[in-house]
């Protein structure tokens, strides 16, 4: 079902990027706590509840109600090192200067319009990720641009400075646990217009923005400090936001997967239309208690649920026969979209539908009974079964109806979570503009001329200009340098060069590291300092150039060891030519028979023995040269004797 090649123009792909980058500021955005994560057990846990507030029109936001329906406890893990702000027990302090200046610098770099007065706004989140129930955010710049290599100018719609949310530690049906150490770390949110038309454009745009951020030298580095979201739509489709794209390599599979998902959902909508199903047909369906059908069931999970006093309910989805069994993402059937929605909103795990039965111990007979009690047609209709405590089951039934109604008009507008396998799962419906309103606790921020001129004096070079300079200076192909500069290795590259390490050696080491990471060392984090020590040892001649691969591999296998220890352990101190010559003369005597037998052709096996001893300790060329010399001498001696 998934086409191998997607014609992005034809499907009308439109992608927008949202990049969140933590800033390397001396304090948090709205308080004086250190912007660092804490890795020990919390000192205290605080229990809270959040509830939706009335909107300006007196209505409740549907997203908010869905969150409230879960009635989950929110637990905040708190530390003595943090202040009252992190648990919403005091108002914000004034915005951190460094973070504000960094955001303004970025607005300058992207050629954005900067308002003369900035306002702190509140963005409502009811999932508990912010103890106040809203994230504080400031619009810093509007309508900038970034040029791609194909000459296309992508609009940077807006740049905001905001506080990071707390990090989720644990989640269950009854409660969700957040650690508040991350809350308040300043981050910039850069949003592009939905103008990117292929995964390649998306990748390039993301890498370029990432490189610019790093080039300011004012951003945090490392895992989790940059997060990317994308919003995707296609012709006849809807805007779907995918959160948490962790690696650039994920862009293409996620985009392709979402295109296929939307195409398949559009097709389902068309199919439903041709079957003549309307929203009213679904609304009018009543769910039925079918617990009695399963009294003697062989399905273990149903047995257990019934014995605990839980209920089994069935709902007929008219005209949905075969629809829920359709695969819409790789290895994900449409039924999964129903199940995930129910799980997220009501906390109930696992719904079953007749398209997949008999299965899970449910018999053909039970399946037929389901069709009978709901008066469903075995071909035309589908029956969905929900198991759980009665109030939750009834909530779940409503969610199933809602999702079924949405299916009549194609892909619904929602926020989805990126999975490592390139698929996505339901997170929540998309929030609207009503989620944003002014923060009455913060004063407006006047952007004065002096501040702007201070910003204009901050030195900044575009990464590609730096790449051009390095390429010219060291006579290295521009593309090689450019590739490194756009990658996460840009800083390492620059730092190394500034320590007078040969850029070619640095590029080689980065290639070695990336191939090691591909070989399963992706999670290993060797400090850059240690890597630089290895390169310096090679530059000073202490260690042979050839040793690079061995040392790095060893370093990745034992990330706790220092470069010196590894070098010592491998006895990689460079050997002198005399030592090598001594070894070779001894070897030639030992292998006299071989040499007599194979004459010049003995070079190859001898070289193998030499390198076995000296790999990484001396250059292969030198070893070959000396071996050749000594072998020639030996042979001529043989001749003369």
């Amino acid at each position: 079902m998934i086409a191998m090649e997607i014609n992005y123009k034809q499907v009308g792909l439109r992608v927008g990027l949202e990049i969140h980058q933590q800033l390397d500021s001396p304090r948090k955005l709205f308080c004086f706590c250190k912007p660092e994560l804490i890795d020990r057990e919390p000192d205290v846990r605080i229990v809270r509840f959040q509830r939706p507030t009335l909107s300006e029109t007196g209505e409740l936001d549907p997203t908010a109600i869905k969150e409230f329906k879960k009635r989950r406890r929110i637990i905040y893990e708190m530390y003595k090192d943090l202040c009252l702000y992190e648990i919403d027990e005091k108002p914000p302090e004034f915005v951190d200067d460094y973070a504000l200046e960094t955001a303004l610098l970025l607005a300058r770099i992207f050629k954005m319009e900067i308002p003369d007065v900035l306002f702190v706004s509140r963005k409502q989140y009811l999932d508990g990720s912010v103890p106040s129930g809203f994230q504080r955010t400031i619009l810093i710049g509007l309508k900038g641009e970034l040029e791609l290599s194909n000459g296309k100018k992508v609009r940077i719609d807006q740049l905001c400075l905001e506080e990071d949310a707390a990090r989720k530690v644990k989640e269950s049906e009854e409660e969700v646990v957040f650690r508040v150490d991350r809350l308040g770390i300043p981050l910039v949110e850069i949003t592009t217009a939905a103008e990117l038309e292929s995964p390649d454009e998306v990748l390039e745009c993301a890498l370029k923005i990432g490189a610019i951020l790093r080039a300011t030298k004012r951003v945090k580095r490392g895992l989790g400090t940059i997060r990317q979201d994308i919003n995707i739509s296609i012709k006849e489709g809807t805007r779907v936001e995918i959160k948490g794209v962790q690696y650039p390599e994920w862009f293409k599979p996620l985009i392709d997967g979402e295109i296929m998902r939307q195409i398949n959902l559009i097709e389902i909508a068309k199919e439903m239309k041709s079957r003549g199903i309307s929203a009213n047909d679904i609304i009018n369906e009543k769910s039925i208690d079918v617990t009695h059908i399963f009294k003697g069931t062989k399905a273990k999970f149903i047995q257990k649920a019934i014995s605990q006093g839980e209920k089994v309910y069935a709902l007929k989805l008219p005209g949905f026969g075969g629809i829920l069994g359709k695969e819409i993402q790789k290895n994900r059937r449409f039924g999964k979209e129903f199940a995930e929605r129910v799980k997220v909103i009501t906390g109930l795990a696992g719904i079953i539908h007749t398209d997949e039965l008999p299965a899970y111990g449910i018999s053909e007979e039970e399946k037929n009974k389901l069709f009978d009690v709901t008066r469903a047609d075995r071909e035309r209709d589908c029956v969905v079964v929900v198991v759980g405590p009665e109030p939750k089951v009834l909530d779940a039934i409503e969610e199933i109806k809602e999702r079924a109604i949405l299916a009549l008009s194609g892909p619904p507008s929602e926020t989805r979570k990126a999975n490592p396998d390139g698929t996505t799962s339901f997170e929540r419906p998309l929030g609207g503009a009503a989620r944003l309103y002014p923060d009455t606790d913060s004063p407006p921020i006047e952007i004065k001329g002096e501040l702007l001129s201070k910003i204009s004096r901050i030195e900044f070079k575009f990464p590609w200009d730096i790449a051009r300079e390095i390429s010219n200076k060291y006579k290295i192909p521009y593309d090689d340098v450019h590739r490194i500069i756009l990658s996460q290795w840009a800083d390492f590259f620059e730092v190394s060069i500034n320590k007078s390490i040969d850029p070619r050696l640095v590029i080689r080491s980065i290639n070695v590291i990336t191939s090691l990471q591909r070989k399963g060392f992706e999670a290993v984090n060797v400090p850059e300092d240690e890597l630089i020590k290895v390169l310096l040892a090679i530059m000073s001649g202490k260690v042979a150039k050839e040793a690079l691969e061995i040392i790095l591999e060893k370093l990745f296998q034992n990330p706790s060891l220092s470069a010196e220890e590894i070098i010592k352990e491998l006895e990689l101190q460079k050997v002198s030519e005399e030592m090598l010559r001594d070894f070779i003369t001894k070897l030639l005597h030992e292998k006299k028979d071989l040499i007599i037998e194979r004459r010049e052709y003995a070079f190859k096996p001898l070289m193998g023995l030499v390198m076995e001893e000296f790999r990484g300790k001396i250059s292969g060329n030198i070893a070959a040269k000396i071996l050749k010399e000594e072998l020639d001498k030996f042979l001529s001696k043989l001749k003369s004797s």
């Binding site: 605080i46 706004s121 944003l436």
Partner: protein, 434 residues
Amino acid sequence: MYAGKAKELLEREGVSIWDKVVVSIGTTAFEAIILPGPVREDVIYLKLPNGYNLAVKVDRIKSIKKIATITPKYTLPKMLVTAREDLPEVSIIHCGGTIASRIEYTTGAVAPAFSAEELSNAIPELFSIIKPRLTMLFNIFSENMTPKHWIEIAKTTYRELLSGAKSVIITHGTDTLHYSAAALAFMLRNLKGPVVLTGAMRSSDRPASDAPTNLIASSIFATKSDVGEPVILMHGTPDDTCFFAHRGVRCIKLHSTRRDAFRSIGIPPIARVDIREQKVDILYPHHKKTTEIESELKAVFEPKTAIIFIYPGMPQDIIDSFTDRNYRGLVLVGTGLGHVPEYMFESIQRAIENGIIVVMTTQCLLGGVYLDVYETGRKLKTLGVVSGRNMLPHVAYIKLGWLLAQDIPEAEVKDLMGKNITGEIVYQESPVYF
């Protein structure tokens, strides 16, 4: 809203506030709504379609063209739940702060919402505990409360209890919540049902507001306790699960921002309320019980009563100015055991000679006034200063003003100031409550 250049620009372009416009600045243009804002001549306030607010200088705006006019409107939501006749009728008297508030998203202003509909939308759980009876008494910030407001609150509470309410919940701004609670404790005694004062440290337009849970806990207390004296009921810890009911005359706001800002001084809280289990645990069994004896209402206050904070270097004419203005009662918030600088003695003597009752309290809050320990204290006592013992300063002020407004001889007022009327003095100070 707009003046000078800003006003001229809007007039010239034929646009006004709430218009949806396209604004051109620099090389770009964007859609926005013109907002009202604090009067300025140099900037225009704007709201982007995605909700962000900003302001741009008039000089930067090349043009500002109208697309449409927006009328912000507020439609009342449908009532989610209806009142149940079988539940105890509890009167909710609104005095300020906001139980249910709505935010005007276009301006960001918070407006109070106090109809049954709004309450049911904001806190539907309330309707499974009580049958609310709503009175909008006034809607002011609590820093603007005066003794006149206390009198109104006391009279209304008395009326509500008399006319059949099982209990009364008073919603009130938190700044002076403990003043109103103390005033109510003196003005209204022999309560038929619990009287609970509550508020919120986070306004109710916020998802994490403490208003809903404080009100739920108050409702549980109002229906399930036998406490017959006014209490302040607020968060007991930063958690949304622990609530304390404090004796109205032994409680102060000890923190300016925390949810658990209110603390009992010198005694434990009267009770803890658990909103999950819906139960009330009594922590201080010496509280007054509800009674069928007829309620006693004495809602009076002598406005010529004042409170003076003593500090090193204070000028003595502060006291003189009260004497010159014919005040009748002064509460001094002295240092330590109840001391004032010696150079103030002359003014204090003059005040007392002019018939002013001078009561001493301590700014230590805990402990109390002991005028016999040091020479300074003994001299003050000789001058005729009355010891307020371990009454909290604001409570002594309210008690004095309340006594002075009644037809009681001066000697008796002095005597009553040192005696317990409604638990305002702690006779047995336990070592555990500090």
